[in-house]
């Protein structure tokens, strides 16, 4: 059998309707849009700004721990920390 002739996979009943938890934080947008360009309107990807405490720091929302969109605070280019201190 040629490689391209594998049988079509029928939809497994367990996949007809299900929920997935996503823990990424708009990193996808960072890749596709150019690193550091994930911002939209100051809303956090995770909690959509519903958290009422300190909103962001260094790109992270304190409410849900995901990347925020406050570009003032984002480190636009990820890098490891200055070492050995």
């Amino acid at each position: 059998m040629q490689k391209t002739e594998r049988p079509e996979v029928p939809l497994d009943p367990s996949l007809e309707n299900f929920q997935v938890t996503e823990l990424d934080e708009g990193q996808l947008d960072g890749v596709l849009g150019g690193v550091g360009e994930v911002a939209t309107n100051g809303n956090c990807y995770g909690c959509q700004g519903s958290y009422t405490g300190p909103p962001v720091s260094n790109g992270n929302c304190f409410g849900c721990g995901v990347s925020s969109t406050d570009t003032d605070d984002r480190n636009p280019v990820g890098s490891v920390e200055p070492t050995a201190r």
């Binding site: 367990s14 996949l15 997935v20 823990l23 690193v35 721990g65 605070d73 890098s79 920390e81």
Partner: protein
């Protein structure tokens, strides 16, 4: 003459295709028929204790957790040989998340494209500024020589002029204060701190400020000013229990420093502003026994404040005067202890700096020294790349900043630091975490030891994503049905 006025079509003046009716745009959607899908080579999978399947894609940065009933079917779809299926429902979801690709996709070529976009961008300017090359501490493992004091006024003027010359091109300005001890050179920070903020605001540049400080001089008055100047990310080191810290990190007069630092941290905690503190813990065979005491202390004071996070690093022989006297862990021991310490911190509910979510995705563990837009500026205008080499190694003395704001670079040295080494490293090209480190985790390892500089993430990724899934609540739930994908930002009531 306007086209067409003569009434006769002139094929020399206009393409006949322009007269054809416009065809509708093809719909950019997955094919309606069954096609071949293959898993991404950058998927990392793990199973939690309660049977959930965690999948992390290191290229796209996506991380999904599937409940136990879906696990067998998802694993079948993601098997190495791929599947023939229609692009809908779960297949569409996995495709959109980057876990599944159309057969024939060259992911490594995509990585090279994204790397180029990131690495060679010229709209970013990153400084690591040595406000003072001297220090008020004398840590036993320190590799610096404290040869110079506060950054000279003419160097500060040169930095301002350099920024002004780049205003037309930069969109991001990042300043990391370093030393020596940066707060020992307060005069330089007080000069440049407000300048960066005002200039960035005036020219709509995104500014971020960081500081690596021992924390001793980070009094409430100093913190107030730094936060006003948008220095909102700090790395502060606590080397274990108070007595261990005081032995490893004494003041230059030999005095203990833990209690002063801890008081400053408490005062910082009580402030309302947004900021992040990475509490770095350097561990070695001598201070490991006291770690539970430190973790309990940190948990008691900072557990409820997610602005404070812990980061563990093994002490190394980094080139300091005491290298022959200090005891360090072997690589294997260091890896095991780092694992164990992170788990102990998690048990106490303490946030960690090295969480996968903090890595910030593509290139997140590439060293700043490798980036062409990153420059260390010393107190006397030396331009360097690596904060370990500093000016002790000729290779790192890559140039000089002039008072007029010109960077006079030795491009041959500069090019070695910024070389995209993964492109010629067969090990990197096969590695599942190359999107994260880009083969640039530490250029000096490649230089000194002639081997690929691997991030510990390469070995720990499964453990990390499993631990993350087990401690995290459900977030940003997506519902997938037979046809499509519906995104929600919070779990539905039934979840």
């Amino acid at each position: 003459m306007p086209l067409g006025l003569s009434g006769k079509f002139n094929v020399l003046a206009r393409s006949p295709h322009d007269l054809e009716p416009e065809e509708p745009e093809p719909i950019d959607a997955p094919e309606s028929g069954a096609i071949h899908w293959v898993p991404s080579r950058y998927n990392i999978r793990a199973v939690t204790a309660d049977g959930r399947l965690v999948v992390w894609n290191t290229f796209r940065g996506t991380l999904s957790i599937f409940e136990p009933p879906q696990r067998p079917a998802i694993e079948r779809i993601l098997r190495r040989g791929g599947v023939l299926a229609r692009g809908e429902g779960a297949i569409l979801y996995l495709f959109e998340r980057g876990f599944l690709l159309k057969e024939g996709t060259d992911e490594f070529r995509r990585i090279r494209l994204e790397f180029g976009r990131q690495h060679y961008r010229n709209d970013v300017l990153q400084f690591i500024l040595m406000a003072s090359e001297d220090c008020n501490f004398r840590c036993e493992y320190c590799y610096e020589d404290f040869a110079r004091g506060t950054m000279k006024p003419w160097v500060r003027e040169g930095i301002k002029k350099l920024v002004e010359k780049r205003l037309d091109t930069i969109k991001f300005l990042s300043v990391s204060w370093f030393g020596g001890e940066p707060l020992y050179g307060w005069e330089a920070i007080e000069d440049l701190g407000p300048y960066f903020v005002e200039t960035a605001e005036k020219h709509s540049i995104h500014f971020s400020g960081q500081m690596t400080t021992n924390g001793y001089l980070l009094t409430p008055e100093v913190a107030e000013k730094l936060l006003a100047w948008k220095v909102r990310s700090f790395q502060i080191t606590l080397d274990g229990a108070p007595q261990d810290h005081d032995r490893n990190r004494p003041g230059r007069d030999g005095s203990g420093t833990f209690s002063t630092i801890f008081e400053n941290l408490r005062a910082l905690r009580d402030r309302p502003e947004p900021f992040a503190v990475d509490l770095r813990v350097n561990f070695d065979p001598k201070n490991i026994p006291g770690m539970p005491e430190l973790l309990d202390l940190v948990a008691r004071e900072f557990q409820d404040d997610r602005r404070f996070r812990l980061r563990f690093r093994a002490v190394g022989k980094w080139g300091g005067a005491n290298d022959d006297q200090i005891s360090v862990c072997t690589d294997d021991e260091a890896g095991r202890w780092q694992f164990a310490l992170k788990d102990e911190a998690r048990k106490r509910g303490i946030a960690l700096s090295d969480d996968i979510r903090e890595i910030q995705g593509f290139g997140g563990q590439a060293c700043y020294a490798a980036r062409p837009y990153n420059f260390i500026i010393g107190a006397t205008g030396k331009v360097m790349k690596c904060t370990i080499d500093l000016d002790k190694q000729d290779r790192n003395d890559v140039g000089k900043l002039t008072a007029d704001g010109d960077l006079q670079l030795d491009l041959d040295k500069f090019a070695v630091w910024t070389d995209p080494a993964f492109e010629s490293d067969a090990k990197c090209q096969k590695c599942v975490v190359v999107p994260i480190c880009q083969g640039l985790y530490c250029p000096i390892v490649r230089w000194d030891e002639g081997r690929s500089p691997c991030t510990s993430l390469r070995m720990e990724a499964k453990h990390e994503i499993r631990a993350m899934a087990e401690e995290a609540p459900r977030k940003r739930v997506t519902v997938v049905n037979g046809q499509g994908v519906e995104r929600r930002v919070a779990p539905p009531p039934s979840a």
